[in-house]
């Protein structure tokens, strides 16, 4: 609008003084104003996302691409794709600026972001800011409605079973006790081909009719899950003490990773897996099997946070009593063993041992102690400090071991969960 101001001043001065030179001079700003008004602010902006739903691992890199088109006006178009907290740009940029000339604009906003924290996020919406070439018209902002849903989850650590008859595990992993026989339940497992001895009641006639052909004529039967499989309960401590470390890398995040790894491991071996979160808002998943349970567990871990609530392990076990009785479950307690929660752990595990048979003297309970101080430590001095603090906890770990429990101390920075489990192996 400054050009308009210059024009008016010069023009009226020309008129007032009857000055032809000023009149000529006033033509330039007038023409600038006229030409500026001919050109419109860029518009008709269309934003198109390639994907609508994505999933990524924690610390994984995610590629996002957005196509932008605009066919009206002349000016600058800046486009920004909203990135939630906990995301790090690793390549490209989520904010780009384009020049929209007289021809159609067709550009791409492409970037890679590192997901540092688990959760369900929304990427976007894309916001476009369209500026007039000379700023004569109001800047227009378009906000796209479309967002990209992103599920970021921990990558389960691959725990492998060592198949060596000479090895035996001191950790009470209930793999050998897995049963293929037993009472059939109502839980549908799969459709398979008929084998001699199968009951005719289980023939799936519809599926048989669908699959039958002159070349192939076999009966298909419904297979149901069998009862008598081992039950694994995972008890997760979500107290605020589990938050030792940074917001992104702390004991609790590793504990969740361990939950996912254990559940994946046991579910893959046809065990019923249940989850109970204590010292936090009540969250219990009753034991079940299959991929659906695996999905349920990972979905429920996405929203979990540490809490200041006091729900001791004993009370959590008491709440799950109905599902524990008669199941002879194997229990995994994931916590940070300290002097302050030693009593709580002893009471809780004592309560747990009531529901499962002991092997020798040892109850079927594994305590995974997360070495929080080592996770938080950075540099030589801090690591030395963490070692000193861990020494102070050793008496508590010893007390638990004395009670017959198997305590595995895990420092995620030094060892993987798989190698930790190998430590429990011994030659016969």
């Amino acid at each position: 609008m400054k050009s308009l101001g210059i024009f008016f001043i010069v023009f009226f001065a020309a008129m007032f003084l009857g000055n032809v030179i000023l009149l000529y001079v006033s033509i330039v700003p007038l023409l600038v104003v006229v030409f500026s008004l001919i050109f419109e602010t860029p518009g008709n902006v269309k934003v198109e996302r390639r994907e609508s739903k994505l999933s990524a691992w924690v610390n994984g890199v995610l590629d996002v691409s957005v196509k932008v088109t605009a066919d009206k006006g002349v000016g600058l178009i800046s486009i920004a794709d909203f990135l939630p907290e906990h995301f790090d740009l690793s390549e490209g940029n989520n904010f780009r600026v384009f020049w929209k000339g007289s021809e159609q604009l067709s550009e791409e906003l492409r970037y890679s972001a590192k997901c540092t924290m688990r959760g369900i996020y929304k990427i976007g919406p894309c916001s476009c800011e369209c500026r007039h070439v000379l700023g004569f018209k109001q800047t227009e902002i378009y906000v796209d409605k479309e967002t990209l849903e992103l599920v970021v989850r921990h990558k389960p650590l691959n725990i492998k079973r060592l198949r060596d008859p000479k090895l035996f595990s001191r950790i009470p992993l209930p793999l050998g006790s897995m049963s293929k026989l037993g009472m059939m339940t109502n839980d549908f497992k799969e459709i398979r081909e008929y084998v001699s001895g199968d009951s005719y009641r289980h023939v799936n006639w519809k599926a048989t009719a669908r699959s039958s052909s002159p070349m192939r004529d076999v009966l298909l039967v419904n297979e149901f899950e069998k009862e008598g499989k081992r039950v694994v309960w995972i008890f997760l401590d979500s107290s605020s003490k589990m938050a030792t470390g940074t917001k992104i890398e702390n004991s609790f995040e590793y504990a969740l990773q361990a939950v996912l790894s254990f559940s994946q491991f046991y579910l893959a071996r046809n065990c019923h897996v249940g989850l109970c979160v204590y010292n936090g808002p009540e969250k219990t998943l009753i034991p079940d099997l299959g991929r659906r349970q695996e999905y349920k567990i990972y979905r429920s871990t996405l929203g979990l946070e540490v809490s200041n609530m006091k729900v001791p392990l004993k009370r959590a076990v008491a709440k799950c009593r109905g599902h524990l009785i008669g199941g002879n479950p194997f229990s995994i307690v994931i916590s940070n063993v300290r002097r302050e929660n030693l009593r709580e752990l002893l009471d809780g595990t004592k309560e747990l041992s009531k529901y499962s048979r002991s092997i020798g003297r040892a109850p079927q309970i594994l305590i995974l102690h997360l070495d929080g101080y080592s996770i938080a430590a950075e540099g030589f001095n801090e690591e030395a400090g963490a070692t000193m603090l861990n020494l102070a906890n050793q008496s508590s770990i010893r007390a638990l071991r004395h009670a017959g429990l198997y305590v595995a101390s895990w420092n995620p920075k030094r060892q993987s969960l798989a190698s930790l489990m190998v430590l429990g192996m011994k030659r016969r």
């Binding site: 400054k2 030409f35 800046s78 990135l83 904010f95 600026v97 970037y111």
Partner: protein, 263 residues
């Protein structure tokens, strides 16, 4: 929506490493170039003016007139050049107002209405004699205004560039977009300047045709001014109203779409 402010990276928006670093940034030289063209022209017109001549003749402050002329001109020009090159939008405007003030005596010399005589003030017009033909003063005035507007927009582009970089846009993206915008703006201004020059050239021919008719009308300039001013006011009002209507429609549409989304 405020986008997350990413760190301006060494990659362009597509992840390619910077390649334009060695490219010649033409628009970095625009301001010095403008100063180099405009300042000598304005000072030439001012130095030719009778006012400047009378100032130098009456002054006894400097022992040598030639040294005084050269030194004063050199320092003032250098100072104004620095202001033009490094100043922001406001300083730039002030500099051009100052340059305009240097041109004013020469422009005023060609005024047809002598308000001093109308108001009964004794003033000898020859004290501001331009000592240059009117077409030269007009051409230099046109160059001055065109440069002013051009530098004004260049300065705005600079501000926009800094803002975008602060918000996290990649340097290559911004440089590319700004170069395109500057190129577009300069072409447009060059066009405006060319048209103005054409009008200026054609005016003398039109003047000859209309001179006989205009001579009949008393206060022809005032009549013309009145007509043009009325036309301008009407055009401005129409433009503002149409723009306000458009904005109303846009806000109404946005409101409707929000309501629909809520439903």
């Amino acid at each position: 929506m405020e986008p997350q402010t990413p760190v301006a990276s060494k990659f362009d928006g597509l992840g390619n490493e910077k390649k334009m670093k060695t490219e010649l940034k033409v628009f970095d030289f625009v301001k010095p170039l403008a100063a180099f063209i405009v300042l000598p022209l304005v000072f030439y017109v001012f130095s030719k003016n009778q006012l400047f001549a009378s100032m130098t003749q009456n002054s006894n402050a400097f022992p040598s007139l030639e040294v005084y002329e050269v030194l004063i001109l050199f320092f003032v020009m250098a100072f104004l050049a620095v202001l033009m090159i490094f100043g922001n939008e406001r300083i730039l405007s002030m500099t051009f107002v100052l340059l305009g003030a240097l041109l004013t005596p020469s422009i005023l010399f060609f005024s047809k209405l002598d308000w001093f005589r109308v108001l009964g003030i004794q003033f000898n017009v020859d004290t501001v004699n331009a000592n240059l033909p009117s077409y030269m003063v007009s051409a230099i005035s046109l160059v001055l205004v065109a440069t002013w507007i051009f530098l004004l927009y260049t300065s705005r582009i600079d501000t926009a560039k800094k803002e975008l970089l602060r918000r996290g846009a990649s340097e290559i993206d911004v440089e590319k977009a700004m170069n395109a915008q500057s190129s577009f703006t300069s072409k447009m201004l060059l066009g405006c300047f060319g048209i103005a020059f054409l009008i200026f050239g054609a005016a003398s021919a039109v003047q000859m045709i209309l001179a006989t008719q205009a001579a009949v009308i008393p206060y022809a300039y005032l009549m013309l001014a009145l007509i043009v001013a009325c036309a301008l006011i009407v055009c401005t009002v129409i433009y503002l109203r149409s723009n306000a209507g458009l904005q109303d429609r846009q806000s109404r549409n946005a409101q409707n779409s929000t309501e629909n989304a809520l439903r």
